[in-house]
């Protein structure tokens, strides 16, 4: 009788007490459909697999499981904003929109809502200025870093002189594609190379005019800022006009298997920037096999593991998890809020030792985030495609970007944004 009463009391208490979700919400704004799906799927799979690994192997972060929700944006800005609106009331700890267009729309919204936004290797470059964009982070590298690293690599290839060289920038004719132009123009004045800018309208299925022009221009190097089908077509056209592939450098969004596999042997030697390691030769992949794939929990079809963009998704998830861990340490409790997550992101420190502990030795350049610098290290490496083995391999060590120049450009851009939006820069 006594036991029945106790049980009844416990049951009544359980009913009366509102259930508070004890988990960490990591929403995923993915695009698994539409023309850009070949790029969106591996990123989403990598992101999700890493979070699954953390849940399965470690029981979540700080003892709390990670809850993921997936919203399909189809790489469409309006749908991306709708996705954000659908999750913003559900304590999202970090939003990664995977699109520069969506990013621009979300910056004022997340700032008002107090939701951290991470745009890794895309988005608004000047968001690295943390005092103006306190809720936006774009570590570890941004587009201006990419442009600078590409030029630093070419300087290294040419005994530190690009005087008299001609470099073509072939770019997606969009806000994304135009991002590196001011940096490259600045660098062209500084180093004395001629910059030829050639736009390609989306989607970039037909580029014969552009490559006829490149053939006429006879450039020493071609840098590409492309996305989707534009990349594969450009690499095919470069192969067609017999442009040396080792002199053709893509930004990291032009450096996936999707871009080179359709070209076959013609893509051999093509190079691209990357701000993370390539391949599966990292201990974390053994854990993913054991705790995720072998348990039948792999995202999607499980066939993207180890691809360039899968690795990027995994890296983004790893940085999100590390930021959440840091946030929990700072807050002193596991159930963190978006504001506490933001503080964790701002205090994030990725060291070589920590990367090794995570099973990702030298996968990323070490970096620290601060209130002033939301942009990370800015370092990147060059990867090269081997058409025979169908693999990317790293051909350089980490190359630093010219952060002095980029800092100047970012500060000017951020100041203009602050003036337009009546923002008083400062640390939160």
């Amino acid at each position: 009788m006594k036991m029945t009463k106790i049980a009844a009391l416990v049951a009544a208490a359980a009913i009366a007490t509102p259930v508070v979700a004890q988990d960490l919400h990591f929403p995923m704004l993915n695009y698994r459909t539409g023309p850009f799906a070949p790029g969106g799927i591996p990123f989403a799979d990598g992101y999700q697999d890493y979070l699954t690994l953390i849940n399965e192997r470690d029981g979540g972060i700080g003892g709390l499981p990670i809850r993921t929700t997936e919203c399909e944006t189809a790489y469409n800005t309006e749908r991306g904003v709708e996705c954000y609106e659908s999750i913003r009331g559900d304590s999202p700890l970090i939003v990664q929109p995977l699109s520069t267009g969506i990013t621009y729309q979300l910056i004022p919204r997340v700032t008002e809502d107090g939701v951290p936004l991470h745009t890794m290797g895309y988005g608004r470059t000047s968001a690295m200025e943390g005092e103006t964009f306190p809720w936006v982070f774009n570590y570890p590298a941004n587009y201006w870093d990419g442009a600078s690293v590409a030029i630093n690599y070419l300087l290294d290839q040419n005994d530190d002189s690009l005087e008299g060289k001609k470099i073509v920038l072939i770019y997606h004719n969009s806000a994304y594609g135009r991002e590196p132009i001011p940096t490259l123009q600045n660098l062209s004045e500084r180093y004395g190379f001629e910059l030829v800018e050639i736009p390609v309208d989306s989607p970039g299925q037909e580029q014969s005019s552009q490559w006829l022009q490149i053939r006429r221009e006879r450039p020493d190097y071609v840098i590409m800022w492309g996305w989707g089908v534009m990349n594969a077509v450009a690499i095919q056209e470069a192969a067609n006009i017999r442009f040396p592939m080792e002199n053709f450098i893509g930004i990291w969004w032009s450096g996936s298997e999707n871009d080179v596999v359709p070209v076959g042997a013609g893509a051999d030697g093509y190079t691209a920037l990357t701000f993370h390691g390539v391949g599966t030769d990292y201990p974390v992949y053994d854990d993913i096999q054991t705790y995720v794939v072998d348990r039948g929990l792999a995202a999607g079809n499980g066939d993207q593991i180890g691809s360039a963009v899968y690795s990027r998704g995994l890296y983004a998830a790893m940085l999100a998890v590390e930021a959440a861990r840091t946030a929990q340490e700072l807050a002193g409790h596991a159930q963190i809020t978006p504001a506490e997550m933001r503080a964790g992101m701002e205090a994030l420190s990725i060291s070589e030792e920590r990367l090794a502990e995570l099973g990702l030795p030298n996968f990323s350049a070490p970096f620290d985030v601060s209130c002033q610098n939301h942009g990370g290290s800015g370092a990147a490496m060059i990867q090269q495609w081997d058409a025979d083995t169908q693999t990317w391999s790293l051909i350089t060590d980490w190359i630093d970007s010219d952060r002095e120049l980029i800092g100047e450009l970012a500060t000017a851009d951020a100041a203009a944004y602050a003036a337009e939006n009546n923002i008083t820069p400062g640390c939160l």
Partner: protein, 328 residues
């Protein structure tokens, strides 16, 4: 000859070959519009679906493997064999004919006598359905398509033009093949429509539905026939464009390139599709060549539509289209 003239000639020659690639897409639209008055929004997706199916057969991929693996926890991807290109093309043609039959049975049959806009809406639905089906059936990853058509700079054109002008023109061999294939395709279509019973029936339906029906021609058969031919044309377009960019979902967007071609050439004329493609191809390349130094590049997308707009103002039926006569 000055360098600029040579470069302009090279751009024009490239425009001709690219224009033929546009024509290949436009042909599918014309065939269906001519026979049934339907503007087939799904033509680009048909090209994508055909190319996906072709690569699937060639590589021995298991259809719906992603779905099967997700439901049953299996890990199957392919049959373990590859198929010669010719056999894979034949099988893909059969699949396109099957799609034509299904479209007629499941969609068109139920929409007889409906307004053209209803039929157009139905093809929009069909486009989304086929795109999703292609995704589930063959996966969304980018696929390499190789049926043995060579790509890259044509050494023959390079040598001949070098001997003539002292400057070797660049022309992609794939585009030259497209020229030959388009010629064969148009000839075959002309022979079919002029000299076969089915072809004459098709022309009769195109001329006058009611009259054709009154002499016993089966409209349903003609629809299956037209959609089958359009499916085969879509396969050819899918092969040519897919060889160039890989088979990926943006392949369906090539339909956007066909619209100005149709406006120029006329929606009901096969020669119009060819001439329209050539005009758009040459026009956009020359415009880009001359205007690029002044207004920057990337003019091709809007130039084609601008040219089409001018034609709409002065000759709305296009160069070869049937004159629009409204009797009150």
């Amino acid at each position: 000859m000055s360098d600029n003239v040579l470069f302009a000639l090279e751009a024009a020659a490239n425009g001709l070959t690219v224009g033929i690639m546009y024509s290949l897409v436009a042909l599918g639209f014309v065939l269906i519009f001519k026979a049934s008055g339907i503007f087939n929004f799904a033509q680009g997706v048909l090209a994508l679906f055909a190319a996906l199916t072709l690569v699937g057969f060639q590589t021995g991929q298991v259809p719906f493997s992603h779905l099967i693996n997700a439901i049953f926890g299996t890990n199957i991807h392919d049959f373990g064999f590859t198929m010669p290109a010719v056999l894979a093309i034949i099988l893909t043609v059969l699949v396109m004919i099957l799609i034509a039959i299904l479209v007629e049975r499941l969609v068109l049959k139920h929409l007889v006598n409906q307004e053209p806009i209803i039929l157009f809406m139905a093809t929009i639905g069909l486009a989304y359905f086929l795109e999703g089906l292609g995704d589930i059936m063959w996966g969304a990853e980018v696929k390499r398509l190789d049926v043995g058509i060579p790509q890259g700079m044509s050494p023959w054109v390079d040598e001949v033009t070098y001997n003539l002008f002292g400057y070797g023109f660049y022309l992609d061999e794939l585009s030259l093949w497209a020229l030959g294939i388009a010629a064969v395709l148009v000839t075959a279509l002309v022979i079919f429509s002029q000299y076969t019973k089915q072809g004459r029936a098709l022309r009769a339906v195109a001329d006058d539905h009611q009259a054709a029906l009154s002499v016993g021609i089966s409209l349903r058969f003609i629809w299956v026939l037209t959609w089958s031919i359009a499916g085969i044309v879509a396969l050819v377009a899918g092969i040519m464009w897919g060889s160039k960019s890989g088979v990926q979902f943006s392949l369906s967007l090539i339909a956007l390139k066909a619209l100005p071609v149709l406006i120029l050439g006329g929606f009901t004329s096969i020669p119009g599709a060819i001439v329209g493609g050539l005009l758009i191809g040459v026009g956009e390349k020359l415009f880009d060549f001359f205007m690029q130094p002044i207004i920057g590049g990337a003019t091709e997308n809007w130039f084609a539509y601008m040219l089409a707009l001018v034609f709409l103002l002065f000759r709305p039926q296009g160069l070869f289209g049937e004159r629009i006569i409204e009797r009150v």
